[in-house]
């Protein structure tokens, strides 16, 4: 149908101005959820009305870590686990920049876990979007610090003997001042959360569950649509829920929502108060 084709070609992608279209196609597999989280994040940046030049995106290593490679703003694809300290350096050297860290659960919470808790403790004014696919996807499906107990991975073929992190509780205990959890199916909620995080001061942590059908689903007899159905049917939205009660009971119950949103001075505000007490 030539007419449809023509219409399609004439229509620009609504986020085209934020995409490095010369880098497409992206590396994400069919059925992967990272793209949905990424576009929700891009929508928030677009809707913020803030000049794109006042944003920077920082990623670590992994599938989600490729996010920084596709956004058409100043963007940094750093070493494994180190997106947050890189972002910290940017923010402290130029506090006018809105710094968004877009990375995965392995990158941010295992190898980079120390940086996550310390940036939260300092209330560093950055937004961290943690795409949680419960597995090391890029390397072929090894067990992660988020893999549910007894689930299979390429390094736990008989079942994961460990227990996963409750990431909102971890962020809360460390001092994060904004904490939310959604799934990639809740695209608008993700976008709203990112918008709130951009609009506020302080350390914001947004966990977004996302399927990895190739490397998690395949080994655990879970097709991509099964995961989405589970996200839909087994999730409960419970804003302000107690972080200690946010353990994911995978396949049975996942609590979503905005859990924490409190005001506290940021690192930069406190630093400037300590060193320039007469400025106020």
């Amino acid at each position: 149908m030539p007419s449809v084709n023509k219409t399609f070609q004439a229509d620009k992608h609504p986020l085209e101005d934020l995409l490095r279209v010369d880098r497409l196609p992206h590396i994400w597999c069919p059925g992967c959820g990272i793209g949905s989280v990424f576009s929700a994040c891009l929508r928030s940046i677009k809707n913020s009305g803030i000049d794109y030049n006042n944003f920077a995106m920082v990623s670590g290593i992994g599938c989600s870590g490729r996010g920084a490679g596709y956004i058409n703003i100043d963007s940094f694809h750093t070493t494994h686990g180190r997106a947050i300290p890189f972002a910290t350096g940017i923010k402290l050297a130029n506090p006018d920049i809105n710094v968004i860290v877009f990375s995965g659960d392995g990158d941010l919470c295992a190898i980079g876990g120390n940086h996550l808790i310390h940036a939260a403790r300092r209330n560093m004014d950055i937004t961290v979007i943690c795409v949680n696919n419960l597995i090391y996807g890029m390397t072929g499906g090894q067990v992660a610090a988020t893999t549910p107990h007894m689930y299979r991975s390429s390094t736990t073929a008989a079942g994961n003997p460990e227990s996963p992190f409750n990431l909102p509780l971890l962020a809360y205990a460390a001092g994060a001042t904004y904490i939310a959890r959604w799934t990639m199916l809740h695209s608008r909620d993700v976008s709203d959360a990112v918008s709130e995080a951009i609009g506020r001061k302080g350390f914001s942590f947004i966990e977004v569950l996302s399927p990895c059908p190739i490397n998690f689903g395949r080994r655990n007899k879970e097709k991509s649509l099964d995961t989405l159905r589970m996200y839909h049917e087994k999730s409960i939205i419970k804003n302000n829920a107690t972080p200690a009660e946010l353990d994911i009971e995978y396949g049975k119950s996942i609590v979503l929502g905005k859990f924490i949103d409190i005001q506290k001075p940021t690192y930069s505000e406190n630093y400037s108060r300590v060193h320039n007490p007469n400025d106020e």
């Binding site: 490095r20 010369d22 794109y52 100043d74 070493t79 180190r82 300290p85 910290t88 120390n114 320039n276």
Partner: protein
């Protein structure tokens, strides 16, 4: 705001002089982590940076410290960190990221005895090869070795200038003895200090390539927020900064990274010679070991031995051609360094069998006395 250049005569230790040099060079961000014997650099930076409108942060580990200064550098600041052996090891992966993303920054290593925790409070020069090869992959790096608190000030400024000129991390390879030694340090007037700032791109933003080399092989560097929309990655990348996983892209990138150092050796390599013109026995040394080596040369001369000395201010890249030429007329080389043979092997490599090479070394924890150098001289020649 207080002045960045504390013009005057001071009695301070090497670590503090290093911090003053950094501030004088225009450093505005320091990410650090405490470690003996480099802690005083961080302490001084924490006092001084807020006075000049900069920011200090003590990160959670050396990996974070090193990574934070790369973020700061891309935000447009001159940045520095300081550490010693164990921290230097932790920083190494990120040093590679700095090399490949061509990010200017200065890393101070106040060396102590190793391996591992080693001798935290005692000096050594045993991280010299780690400075060259500590991060994985092929690369060229710049490292300077100061011999006094005064040079901790002076060379820190040179380190920033080289780093800004060549868009590359630069090491200051100091040691516990120089770091903790207090001496007279003269800080000149601001106008007498040569400062180089990174070259900024022309204002054309469309199709900007952050890795397209300029005349000296180095690409101009924009800062975050200036509208160039750069993408910077540790993956092998083209001049645009985009990842390209091909043999050709790897070759092109490596040629660029190595070339900007190898094609500018005359500008980067700094040495100092002492009684070298008629010397037959040539001491090669650097850092704290140069101090005792001068005495050894004087003592040898008083005994009628034609000794001379080449001090490496720039240790990396190594002055290969200079050593090669010296080997043609020398009776032999003695390398004086507080390790069990690191730079001495480089000297041997460059001498190429034309002259015998010996090491006056030490396992770490103390200086090498002139007596030891003299004894080796008399034993071997």
């Amino acid at each position: 705001m207080k002045p960045a250049v504390c013009t005057g005569v001071h009695f301070i230790n090497g670590d503090e002089a290093c911090a003053e040099g950094a501030i004088a060079a225009g450093c505005k961000f320091f990410g650090g982590y405490p470690i003996t014997p480099a802690t005083e650099v961080a302490e001084q930076m924490s006092l001084r940076l807020p006075e000049v409108g900069g920011t200090f942060i003590q990160m959670e580990d050396e990996i974070a410290a090193m990574t934070s200064i790369l973020g700061g550098a891309w935000a447009g600041c001159k940045t520095m960190t300081a550490t010693s052996g164990p921290g230097f090891s932790l920083m190494m992966e990120t040093v590679g990221l700095a090399v490949v993303t061509e990010t200017p920054c200065v890393i101070v290593n106040v060396q102590r005895g190793g391996p591992s925790t080693g001798l935290p409070t005692q000096g050594a020069q045993s991280d010299m090869m780690q400075a060259k090869w500590g991060s994985h992959g092929d690369y060229e790096i710049i490292a300077l070795a100061p011999s006094s608190p005064q040079e901790m000030f002076d060379f820190t400024i040179i380190a920033f200038n080289l780093s800004e000129t060549y868009r590359t991390p630069v090491f200051i390879m100091s040691d516990e003895i120089i770091g903790h030694m207090s001496e007279k340090v003269i800080i000149p007037h601001k106008k007498k200090i040569k400062i180089i700032n990174r070259k900024k791109p022309a204002k054309v933003k469309q199709g900007f390539k952050p890795f397209k080399p300029g005349a000296n092989g180095v690409a101009p560097m924009p800062a975050i927020g200036e509208g160039y929309k750069v993408h910077i990655t540790g993956l092998t990348h083209d001049e645009k900064g985009y990842p390209v996983m091909t043999v050709e892209a790897q070759e092109e990138m490596m040629a660029r990274l190595l070339g900007k150092i190898r094609n500018n050796l005359d500008d980067i390599i700094l040495t100092e010679d002492y009684l070298l013109n008629d010397a037959k026995i040539i001491i090669i040394t650097y850092g704290v070991s140069a101090r005792t080596s001068y005495t050894a040369v004087d003592e040898a001369r008083s005994r009628g031995i034609k000794a001379g000395l080449l001090r490496l201010i720039t240790v990396w890249p190594f002055p290969e051609e200079l050593i090669r030429n010296l080997a043609k007329k020398a009776k032999g080389f003695i390398t004086v360094e507080i390790n069990m043979g690191q730079i001495s092997r480089e000297v041997e490599r460059c001498a190429g069998g034309l002259a015998p090479c010996y090491l006056a070394g030490h396992a770490g924890g103390a200086i090498i006395t002139p007596d030891k150098v003299l004894a080796l001289m008399q034993e071997k020649f």
